[in-house]
Subunit: 217 residues, 2 copies
DNA sequence: CCGGTTAGGATACCGTGGCATACCCTAGAC
DNA sequence: GTCTAGGGTATGCCACGGTATCCTAACCGG
């Protein structure tokens, strides 16, 4: 008899998803007992989950209480700098090590992208799968792990840059260039294309954030 | 009145150090209750620590039991590939952002290196401090965090490559080139010098491991 | 009368102990 | 020799108590 809990996963996954979906936003305080009743478990698994999230810098300590980490402008730039480098490496390695089947999957994911133009939420999910597939194609487990961490930190960013007008089509074109380079086994080109892709995404985010500040003033 | 426990740190630090020192070696199984009595604490903090170590891939699950992760040849290569890229990025950023005081500290650390030639254990510790200082000089908190992870994984490797005959002097010369490039603000040179440094260390390790296999045959 | 300091209460975290469960290993029977 | 059943063991969870910290309010000094 399965419980009718919100999720069947463990506490860690549930809290992570809650942050990702936006139930908890940067700056929010997380209280053990509160999470315990929300998810219908005891405080012990909650504690373990919170510690794991803290080691990943998704939560920070403010005094004795844990709050959802927030990224200021500097940290955003730092995050994107590391991301560009690691994604670039993944592309270079993927160009060298990807199996033909993996390249076909990448092409399929691009078709999926094309079908989803104009639906930012769905595009964002498809985008994650696309990048994850490249990470896996690098055939480097440490790199996959590191990139997982980076992408988890990006859950702290509320908006997806794919929601910005025109960004979805540009991103699609960039994806195509990346896969083309990987399929050709051209590591340098794949590296450059992916770094450029991340750079453009960062630029879009900065513009959008600046516009948001403008609008609120 | 302070207890006379082996360490005053928390369970996480204690287990990490035990792995680093070699009390627990790759492949060893870690049992909660066993660690609990060894460190004189209850099972709960042990459990939390083990989970944190598992998320960092220092421990892996074999069935329901946790064992210290071991790195095969492929994983070693993967680890060094990621490390080279991240350390290279750190050097590039350090060349751009390091404060004069930080560069002086780096030069001091090189002097320390020189004084310790021939003492592999001490050199290894000094080496960690040197690289950590470069990470910090990058002024990129995410990069520091990622590199911490990488270096923690290297605790799984029993030997330091600095123990190999002649490697210490080569490493010192390489350190000097790195700091010179950083001090000159030459990001490209610093990047190249550090990548080369990591590459040489990897090469040394491979040679040494091959020789060990030879000897045991 | 206002500001700073201190003391007290409350709240939330950390660690301990114990219980249930699921898995593994072993021994016995077919 | 293989399959099954039973016991043992380690893990996962929970409830509780101690303790450190934070907030608030009252008191004292200026």
């Amino acid at each position: 008899m399965a419980e009718t809990k919100p999720q069947m996963k463990d506490a860690y996954e549930m809290i992570l998803e809650a942050i990702d979906v936006g139930v908890y936003r940067p700056g929010d305080r997380l209280v053990e007992s509160e999470l315990a009743v929300r998810f219908g478990v005891s405080r012990t698994p909650i504690r373990e989950a919170l510690q794991r999230l803290e080691t990943q810098s998704l939560l920070t300590r403010d005094g004795r209480s844990l709050i959802v980490a927030s990224l200021d402008h500097n940290q955003l730039a730092e995050l994107y700098a590391v991301r560009a480098e690691l994604e670039g490496l993944a592309a270079r390695l993927a160009a060298r090590h990807a199996a033909p089947e993996e390249i076909r999957v990448l092409n399929d994911l691009i078709e999926e992208d094309r079908a989803l133009l104009g639906d930012p939420a769905a595009l964002s999910r498809a985008n994650r799968r696309f990048h994850k597939q490249i990470h896996l194609a690098s055939h480097n487990r440490f790199l996959v792990q590191q990139l997982d961490l980076v992408h988890r930190s990006m859950a702290l960013l509320a908006t997806t840059s794919l929601a910005v007008e025109g960004r979805d089509e540009d991103a699609l074109a960039e994806h195509e260039r990346i896969v083309t380079a990987i399929a050709a086994g051209d590591g340098d080109a794949a590296h450059a294309a992916l770094k450029e892709h991340i750079s453009k995404a960062f630029e879009t985010r900065l513009k959008h954030d600046a516009a948001a500040v403008e609008a609120s003033a």
